[in-house]
Subunit: 134 residues, 2 copies
Amino acid sequence: MFKLSKKVEYGILSLQYMANQNGNIITAKEISEHLNISFEFLSKTLQSLIKQGLIESIQGVHGGYKLAKPADKITFSDVIRALENRSSIVECLTEDIENCGRISCCTIKTPMTQIQDKINNIFDITTIAEIAIY
Amino acid sequence: MFKLSKKVEYGILSLQYMANQNGNIITAKEISEHLNISFEFLSKTLQSLIKQGLIESIQGVHGGYKLAKPADKITFSDVIRALENRSSIVECLTEDIENCGRISCCTIKTPMTQIQDKINNIFDITTIAEIAIY
DNA sequence: ATAAAATACGATAACAATAGTCGGATTTAT
DNA sequence: ATAAATCCGACTATTGTTATCGTATTTTAT
């Protein structure tokens, strides 16, 4: 599977929604209703975005969330990093594998690294600002 | 997760190995030993590659496998198509979804399609021939 | 003070996809 | 006939995702 997780999908939609709020605070409930997704699941998603420093939260009765920085400074890579245990297209690129059983004969590491770089680049250069205008 | 499945990884390695055999037939056992992967699992992988027309098999005592076409005509996309239930980065791009609950407000379809196209292109232009030289 | 409205967060269940195994059937050269 | 190989469906195990639940904490209005 080569699919973004629901968390990433919801994260992007939420960030986009916040980007269109002109800096106003917005509640998880409002986002969850607008996007028609589970409030609890969304909340966890938003909390992960906080940890990554992409959004800020205000607790209490008039609390909620807002972007922590300009939308053009938030890349898809940031969102993915916040919300997925993102691994590389093949394990050996990122994880320190003592022995994949093929070390002596593995010949795809270089081309796979090149592919990985291209994919990373796609998500690096795409920002929330770009999709907020839609 | 944005990871190629083991089947695709093994498929690519197997195809690369076959590409370096100068058209000679090679057995699943030999590949599985060379790559140090389960014979049974590899066999299923190879059978899927046959179905997709990427390799040919010869049954019987001196049987085995070989490429069905030149290595530069076999793309990573071909391999992925043969070995994974490949879906798009977000469901709504490929599957006919009557109601994702966000149709009326979804605004990421266009940018997601563009990203999908770029990713597809990466795998479309990478061939077994390119990695066989390594 | 107290209640209400909001976020924070760990535990866990449900589900889906991948990864791997098993057993038996078929094909073919010798 | 036998051995060496592919073929293939059924099954199990593992892993990752998706979702829910319960409870705690923070802040504001009254």
